[in-house]
Amino acid sequence: MLKKLALTIDTITKMTKKMKNLRNLILILLLLLLPGSVYSALDYKNAQLHGFIMQSYVKTNKNNFFGSSTGKGSFDYTEIGVNGSVKLSSNFQLASQLLSRRAGRTDDGEIKLDFALADYRIIDKFKYGLGLRAGRVKNPIGFYNETRDVSFTRESIILPQSIYFERTRDVSLSADGLHLYGYRQTRFGMFNGQLATVYPRVTGINTEYALLGGVKPGAFVAKPSFGGQLKFESSDSRTTLALSHVNLFMEYDPADIETTFTTNGNVHFYMTIFSLKYNLLQWSFTSEYAQRSIRFDGFPSVYIPDPLRSTTGESFYFQTVYRLNYKWNLIARYDVLYSDKNDRDGETFVQSMSALGANIENHSRYAKDMMFGIQFNISRHWESRLELHAVDGSAWIPARDNLNEPVLVRKWNMINMSISYQF
């Protein structure tokens, strides 16, 4: 049944691909709505329509990030989304969102079905509840994955790349399957839980780039995968804690010409994230720690060299937001990624790769990003941001933005500016 569901969603996605004009339609729709929606989204009886648009400017001194950002800078980072939801009864709701995202060469603005789900609330009490969601559902990973493309739900233009990096974005974004969720109100606060069994979205060249370093003749096929999140919000609503885990399985089905394969390739990706947020009227402190492991089986070594067959990476960040007043926020963040937690400086990796004849820079195995930013809340519907990044390491730089660059540079800086609107 799950597989059938996944297939149906796949068909819808293919249909939306053909409707390239839809993107212009969404744009026009959004623009038309600007003056009329000062107070609220479009509400009609039990149906709601919401949307968002974000345009960013990225300038780097070295290394390309989201387009050709060196030189004059790049405007190749745009997010447009529109979603509708309808409550058919007090315990049954349908919701869907279309998303068009441009991010350098990683995302070309093609309209994708971001989610399309039916939500049935089985139990709905003050103290506890239980429900079921079916369809394409966003994966609850960490604090931000569910709404990572919606500027207003983030505190910064780009999310901490150590955890929310581009390369495995497609796989972790949303998936087709079933989610069971529940909540329990206690004296100490509210517990929320989610359990998911899904088929991850693994088709497309981004997954091949992320896992195999380039476009290959064969194709990835999703296998049944699992995920879950447990979240606690204290009863004074100051503290939020979350523990998220995903376990994704996929298979590489080689084409006939790929004779180096003796069996299908198997990939197992799993990630655990601890999240913590402490909110005050003017301050918010956020920190997340993630460990992610990837294992390749059945791949010939020309595809996956031995040092990459099984690795465990580590990521964490600390972030502080200070609200000067209603209009201005300041943000600071220190964000660290290690591709291999047992080889933080990448030296061992460089040596074992050079033994195989490959010349790799060790800074491609880590990244430390110091960021300062300022946000101006123009109104409830408009906001604008400016961010400065000083980065040491190139681990999360999208490879596809730098295909023409001879080498990536270890220390680089970035300025981001954005303006966004939502209704």
Partner: protein
């Protein structure tokens, strides 16, 4: 509490770091007093035509748009005043004990992940009273207006 609101109202000049630091300390004291006291809530009137008494936790679950039905099974419709306005802010801080920006983020995540809907925003307290009265299962709040006698006030258990 008054100090906190006044502080946020003034678009401050950036150079006065010392007074800012002082205010931060003062804010912390204010925050602790919010969580330990409930004497501020006399101004905000929460009302619906359903439950006569609600725990603050339950009210926050309702305003977080997580709860969908009343105990009798009827659908909850949540109304708010302008989320940027002073009344909404007062309601969040004094009644719900949650910061307005947190509540806004909760709604945004629900809406943009497809797991819920946003509350209905009304422009004035008069409209609030009219719509809550006209909508079965509605809940809303006012601060300045008198609630007509045919609408039930909710008393909140803190």
């Amino acid at each position: 509490m008054k100090l906190g609101l006044k502080y946020l109202n003034s678009v401050a000049c950036f150079d006065d770091i010392l007074s800012r630091l002082f205010t931060i300390v003062a804010m912390t004291v204010v925050l602790f007093s919010i969580s330990s006291s409930n004497s501020f809530s006399q101004d905000v009137i929460v009302y619906s035509n359903k439950e006569p008494v609600l725990a603050r936790n339950a009210l926050r679950t309702i305003y977080s748009m997580r709860l969908q039905t009343w105990p009798d099974g009827s659908e909850i419709t949540v109304f708010i005043l302008d989320p940027e306005g002073e009344s909404h802010r007062k309601f969040c801080l004094e009644v719900l004990n949650i910061f307005p920006y947190q509540l806004q983020r909760i709604w945004d995540v629900l809406v943009f992940s497809g797991t819920g809907q946003a509350p209905v925003v009304v422009r004035t307290e008069q409209e609030m009273i009219r719509r809550v009265k006209a909508t079965p299962g509605a809940i809303g709040y006012v601060i300045e207006s008198e609630v007509p006698s045919d609408v039930k006030k909710i008393s909140i258990n803190y």
